[in-house]
Each structure stands twice: as C-alpha cells, then as structure tokens.
C-alpha cells in the first residue's frame, strides 16, 4: 500500500496545483459545491460530472493496458452505444420505463460483445492489439451511422433516459454516482479476487503466465470486454446528457485522452502493474486542465499545448532518474567524491 501511495503522489501534486491555480483565479467558489434545485453544482462538481464518460473509458482502458494491450475502438463503441440507445428510444414510447431499460441493456450488451470480439482477436488470433482495435475504431463509426441512418436521433427532453446524464440521486448527479459505482466494482473485482494479479501476470510476462497455467486468453478477453462495456456506458451517459447521439463526433478522440489518463495515473503502457485510483486522478487532471485553460484566460487553441506540457511534467516527475538528478545538488556526498565526471568523458572520447 505504501508503494502504491508513492506512485500516486506526483499525479496528486499536479492535480492539487491545478486546483490551486483555479482557486486563485476564480475564488473558493471553484471548489465549494453549491445546491441548485436539489442538485449539487459548482465548478468542480461540474468538472467531475462531465469527466465521467472519460473516467469510465479510462478505467476499462487501464485493465486492457495491464494486459500489455490497448483499445483504440472505445470512441467508436461510445458512438455505437449512444446510437443504439437513442435510435431505440425515438422509435418507441419515449416515456415508458421499459423502453428505456431495453435500450440501455441492448446498448451495453452490444458494447460488451464488441469488446469481447476485440479481445478474441488479440487472444485467439494473435492480432496485435493496436491493429485489432484499429479495425473497429474505423469501422465502428460507420456502424453507428448505419444504426442512426445517417441522422442525429434526438430524444425528447421528457424521457427518463436523459436523467442518466442530467438527473441526481440524493442531490448527487447521476453520472457521478455511476462513475463511483463502476470504480468501486472494478476495484473490488480486481483487488479482492485474484483477477488483478492474474491480469498483471499476463501483461507482465505472457510466456511465464502460460507456463504457470493461467488462462490468459480468457483473462485477456475479459479485460477487453469490460473495456467495451465501459465505453458503451460512457456513450449512454454522453447521449443522455446531450439528448442525442452523434455518430460522427460522439466520443471523438476520447481514446487518446483515456490512454493519457491511464499513463498519468502511473500504469505503464508495457503492461503489468495497474493503478485504477491513479487513472481516476489522471482523468481529473485532464478535465480540470481543460477548465483551467479557460479560467486563466488562455484561448482554447492552447488546450493541446497545455495538455502536452502537463503530461510532460507528470511523466518526468514520475521518473526516479529525473528526481535523483533534481535532488543531487542537495545530497551529501557521503564520504565519497562528488562524481568526478571528466575522467570518463575523456575515456569515452578517446575511443
């Protein structure tokens, strides 16, 4: 647990810095929640609410990355999930609870199946994850368009479906409740069972895992399946928030933000150890950053550059070599000589 917290400390520091910058710009209202019509609001709560689709996808992505994989199709699956639900609802009685429930279940089911398909391609056919999921990244939006018939289906504002994005349970916005629930379920699923360890084994050393008798194929498929499911759920929340499903632009480029969040959170792209809580912080950093850019008065063109800078800072802070280098002037030489560089440089040159 100690080592675990140590990994989180740098991302947390960056997040806190961002929050402090915002408070300095806009006052304490930024962080203190307010209540409007029985619903929690305020700048920071809104950031959290809006970050839930990204959070869900990034959580799923964390599991996939732990297996040494990657899932590029999540944005497309987001669009498919949204398209299925909205199309199903507008074709039927929009206020009937049954319709909504069927729409949701159907969308999640399809998303999970797509995820499992990705996983099967990787596990059974040995296709490189980036290639396997690229196929659906490209084809998926086409499928979403077929479902919506090239239109943007808009549900009526009175349907209970929109509550998924806009509603509140005991003043807490529904997306936040869903985000917390999914996080809790995944954390319990991976850390109270052996799933987490087996995922890390499969990602950390596939050959050794096979010889240890792990069902690595099943585990890989499960990770992609969960990732697809999460992407579908993210699509539902996004669509409910907007009241419509845009096959072309819904969840566009969200896979890149998700991968970024995972990496900021301390999970290495080469697989193995993963940190769900780190991913949560990574998502919070990305979303807070977007708002910060506006709050400090930079134009939105700055968004990408700023994001790149923050990622750079987090990556560098996480590197032990860099921290050692940074701290070197402050360390006591401890008896030995303070690193006489010239001699070996000379040697190196001589060759």
């Amino acid at each position: 647990m100690n080592a675990y917290l140590k990994r989180l400390i740098w991302p947390l520091a960056v997040l806190v810095t961002l929050i402090v910058v915002n408070i300095a710009q806009t006052g304490f209202d930024f962080i203190v929640p307010s209540v409007h019509d029985g619903r929690l609001g305020g700048a920071f709560v809104n950031i959290l609410r809006n970050s839930v689709p990204l959070l869900l996808i990034a959580l799923g992505m964390t599991l996939v990355i732990a297996t040494k994989g990657i899932d590029l199709s999540v944005g497309a699956v987001y669009a498919i999930g949204a398209a299925i639900a909205c199309q199903w609802i507008i074709d039927r009685d929009q206020s009937a609870f049954g319709t909504i429930l069927t729409a949701v279940i159907l969308a999640l089911l399809v998303a999970a199946v797509i995820g499992a398909w990705n996983g099967a391609m990787v596990a059974y056919f040995g296709v490189q994850p980036i290639v396997a999921t690229l196929i659906l990244m490209i084809a998926g939006r086409g499928i979403a368009q077929l479902i919506t018939g090239g239109q943007i289906p808009s549900v009526s504002d009175s349907t209970p479906f929109v509550e998924l994005g806009r509603g509140a349970i005991a003043t807490i916005p529904v997306p936040i409740v869903i985000g917390v629930l999914v996080f809790a379920v995944l954390a319990l699923l991976t850390r109270t069972t052996a799933l987490g360890m087996l995922l890390e084994a499969v990602g950390g050393n596939p050959a050794a895992s096979r010889l240890a008798g792990i069902r690595s194929k099943g585990i890989t498929i499960l990770a992609y399946l969960v990732c697809g499911f999460c992407a579908g759920l993210a699509g539902l929340i996004g669509a409910a928030n907007l009241g419509s499903a845009d096959a072309n632009n819904g969840g566009l480029w969200i896979e890149l933000d998700a991968i970024l969040a995972v990496v900021i959170g301390g999970t290495a792209l080469i697989g193995g150890r993963f940190f769900l809580l780190g991913t949560v912080i990574g998502v919070a950093i990305i979303e807070t950053l977007n708002v910060t850019i506006i709050n400090v008065g930079l134009s939105s063109q700055w968004q990408f550059t700023a994001k790149a800078i923050v990622v750079f800072v987090v990556a560098v802070l996480q590197s032990p070599e860099f921290r050692a280098w940074l701290l070197k002037p402050f360390r006591r030489p401890d008896g030995g000589e303070p690193a006489p560089e010239p001699a070996d440089d000379k040697e190196a040159l001589a060759k």
Binding site: N205, L211, G213, D344
Partner: protein, 505 residues
C-alpha cells in the same frame, strides 16, 4: 602478471530501498589476473559489478581505473572506458539475429548502410574462435539459454577491453564449453586483460582464478590468493558458519523405492525439429535424470512432457489416462509442475512480488474468482521462504529485485506449493550457491521419498548422477539410452554412452 591495480574500488556502499546490498566494500583488480568474487546468493556480487559498470550509482565510495578516478553512468560508458561485461541475466535482444546481437553498435558498414554480408562473416568468425557453430542469421530467441550465454560471451571478448567481467557465465554450460571458455580466458590473461569471474562452481574457480574476494551479506570478508585458501575455508568464509551441510553433497542420495505402477508414460512422443520420438516411463517416488550435452534435446524433452510444447507424434499417458490437448494449464491441474530453465523470460513475472510469484500457479489452477485465502497464502509463502531460505525474507519485494539465485528459489517454491505428482526441473540449481544447492538437492530427495516423481535436468553431470534413480541419456535430439543400474550412475558412464551410442548413428 604485474601487480599494478587496474581497477580499485574503495568503500563502496549501495543501498536499495530497505536493503543494504554493499557496505563499504573494497575491491582491487590487477593487470592480467583472473579474480573471483565469491559469496552466497544475494551477497552483493552482481551489485558490485553493476556499480563498477555504471548500471547502479554507488551511494558512497570511489573507483579508480588505471589510477584515475572514474564514475560511469551507464554500461555504455563503461564499455567505452574499456570494461566489457557479461551480466548474469543475459540481456541481448531476443528478436534480433545472432549476428546483430554479436555486433550491435559496431556493425561493419558500407557508407551509411550496414553491410550484412560482412556482418555475418565477422559474426561467424567470432563464434568460431570460441568453438561454437550457430546459424548467425537466425533470431537469438531460437537458441537455448546456454547458447545465448555463449553469444554474450563472444560479444564481450571481442570488444578490445582492458577489463572483462563475467558474472556467472558458466551457469548453464557443459564442461566442453566451459573448457573452451577457460582456454579463451587464459589467452586473454596472457595478453594482460584483467578479468573478474563470478561462479558458484568452486572447481572452476579453483582451476582458473588467481585471487578471490569473498563477500557476505554485502560486506567484504577478505581477499586471498586462490592457492592460500582451501575450499573448506572458502565455504566457511562465504557462509559464515562451519559447514556439515556439504557433507550431504558428497555421497549419493539413498536409492528410492519407487512404486511399480507408472505415473507418466511416453510412447513415441516427439516433435519435428525438436526431439525425435522417444519412450520414457516415470514412476511415483522416482527421480529420472536427463543427461546430454548442450543442444541434445533435454529441455525439449521436458517441455513435451510438461505440455509446454505440443507433441506432433506419439502418446503421453498420465496415471493410465491418455492426455489429449495437453498444455500447461491442464498439466498443472493434473499435478505436473514445470520450472523452465530461463527464469527471467519464462519463469517469473518481474514486477510482481515474491509472494505473488509463488502463489501464481496455485491461483491459476483455482481461477480468478476463487482467491487463495490470504491467511493460507501468507502461511504458505512464509513456509517456503523459510524452507528455501529465500533472502531477503520479504514476501512483498518485487521479485526482480532479488539476486539471481534467490529468484530461482522463488520459481521452485511456486511449484512445490501445489504439491505436484510430477515435478519437472530444468536446471533448477542454475546460479544457486553451494549451500543452497545442497538444500535443493536434499529437498528433491525428500520430495521423492514422499512419493513425488521428479524429472531432473542439469548440465552438471555429477548432480544428475547423485540424485537420479535412472538417467535418460540424450544425444542429437534423440534419447539414446536409459541407465538404471547402480554401477552405471557415473559421469564417466554417461559420457561413454554419449560417445558410443552416438557413434553407430
């Protein structure tokens, strides 16, 4: 041999989080000498080397090379400075060809391009020099770990170096390859190259080294000329206690009394390009040794029985049942454990902890939903850490931070934990110190007395003869004979068998 020191390390201290790997160690290497660094697993031998070659930064101490203070910050710098190293864990690039691995960084060029023809020719010449014959265009991964070790050595000795460091270069080599290596080392020594040699094979150390430095628990015990320090005293210095444990090593294990019913029976089992079809029976409570030279098919034979590779001919029966779709998972479920020879690439998951690595096979057999209860897990892990004397005895350390020998013990523990019916050990004592080797041999003995069957592979013929009830001898990927008479259980008989039976093929 002049007495001028070429490398002088003084007061070297290195802390890893929670472990002091080196504590004020001094080390002096003189021109033209072969100097052994001795110590138990985890004593700090590899760390000392890595501090010298810039893999690790020391926390204190100074290093003089040729009388000038140096501090390397990467192995590349050390190499440029004239120190060439073969590290304990072979770290070449698996998917590059043998030639590319041999010459990486100094490929022959044609203008800006690599001259591949010249490269292959040069690689071939290099390998010829140490007397091995490989297809230099094949990927390195297609060769066994022993071959890879030889490639790493060939690479290191080619670079014109003042200092050559060999960290357990012989751990999976046969006596012939060892002899070649020693010949090369001697000729290098004549040319004035200073060498550091680390090995757990005392006979090799006594044969080739001039001096030795002994470490224990990260501290320097002393430096001696080899001729001044008899073996028993050396072991005393290394272990820090008087040793009777080694007595067990001397006389052969008592013969087991295996049951008559057969546990595993292979009939015509084979795989094209790997091993020709063979017949082999293994009974409960019996230790069957596999002996043969490098590349004779020992590992391949074991892998077929373990289900790690798929056989394309013949049949395998386990407890009278014919196995179909035999793979590592079904094998483990039936109680067949397999410790592969390459612990780094096929054995351990470096990022996971000692405890997690130990529990892996047991957990895999239960599936992810049925976690091994934490209390049971902790008890088992603690039991095996103690039984195998794994150091440091911390179950939560990432296994990659353990010394080589201790990693090997973790891998052994993984399979002992599930109490298999058949345990297949491919080079289980590779890189393990004298004390621990005796422990492991005793353990194998005990396990088979309790009714477990063991298939045992070792490049060290003495070890095979000492432990085995029967010995299957292989040559050129073919099982040529099974020795089962007490009088046949000698290394000489094995060597004779290989020579004789091979002759009429």
């Amino acid at each position: 041999m002049s007495d001028a020191p070429i490398v002088q390390m003084t007061g070297i201290t290195k802390d890893f989080t929670g472990v002091r790997a080196l504590d004020g160690v001094d080390f002096t290497l003189r021109r033209g000498e072969i100097h052994a660094v001795m110590g138990e697993n985890g004593a700090g031998k590899s760390t000392l080397i890595k501090v010298l070659t810039g893999v690790h930064d020391p926390d204190a101490g100074r290093i003089l090379l040729d009388g000038e203070p140096v501090r390397f910050h990467s192995p590349g710098q050390a190499q440029a400075g004239g120190i060439s190293t073969v590290y304990q864990e072979v770290n070449l690039t698996d998917n590059l060809s043998v030639a590319e691995n041999l010459l990486a960084g100094r490929e022959p060029r044609l203008g800006p391009f690599i001259n591949f023809r010249a490269m292959r020719r040069k690689a071939k010449a290099l390998l010829d020099e140490i007397g091995i014959d490989l297809n230099v265009a094949a990927p390195l991964s297609s060769y066994s770990i022993a071959m890879q070790q030889l490639v790493a050595i060939a690479r290191a000795i080619d670079i014109d170096a003042k200092v050559l460091i060999l960290d357990e270069p012989t751990s999976s080599l046969d006596r012939d390859e060892v002899a070649v290596l020693m010949r090369v080392m001697r000729s290098l020594a004549e040319r004035g190259t200073a060498m550091v040699f680390i090995s757990h094979f005392l006979d090799q150390v006594y044969e080739i080294c001039d001096r030795m430095t002994v470490l224990r628990n990260g501290t320097l015990i002393g430096e001696w000329a080899v001729s001044e320090l008899p073996e028993s005293e050396l072991i005393g210095h290394m272990l820090g206690r008087e040793v009777q444990t080694l007595g067990a090593l001397e006389h052969r294990a008592a013969r087991h009394r295996p049951d008559d019913d057969v546990l595993v029976s292979a009939r015509g089992l084979g795989r094209k390009g790997s091993v020709s079809p063979f017949d082999l029976d293994i009974r409960p409570g019996e230790v069957v040794g596999l002996a043969g030279l490098l590349g004779s098919g020992r590992t391949e034979t074991a892998r077929l029985i373990a289900g790690a590779d798929r056989a394309d001919s013949g049949a395998l029966e386990f407890r009278g049942e014919r196995l179909r779709g035999h793979n590592p998972r079904t094998a483990s479920a039936r109680g067949i454990g397999f410790c592969p020879e390459n612990r780094k690439t096929e054995g351990l998951v470096g990022d996971l902890t000692v405890a997690e690595n130990m529990i892996l096979a047991m957990q895999a057999a239960r599936g992810w939903a049925r976690t091994v209860p934490p209390a049971r897990r902790d008890a088992l892990v603690a039991e095996f850490i103690e039984k195998l004397d794994i150091r440091p005895a911390d179950p939560d350390l990432p296994v990659k931070n353990l010394s080589g020998g201790n990693q090997q013990k973790v891998l052994l523990a993984r399979w002992m934990l599930i109490e298999p019916r058949l345990l297949i050990l491919d080079e289980p004592t590779r890189g393990i110190d004298v004390g621990a080797k005796a422990d492991i041999q005793r353990l194998v003995n005990e396990l088979s007395e309790d009714g477990m069957a063991v298939l045992f592979i070792s490049a060290e013929l003495e070890e095979v003869t000492r432990l085995s009830d029967r010995i299957a001898v292989l040559r050129d990927r073919e099982l040529i004979d099974i020795l089962h008479q007490e009088s046949d259980m000698t290394t000489d008989r094995i060597v004779e068998t290989i020579v004789e039976k091979g002759g009429d093929k």
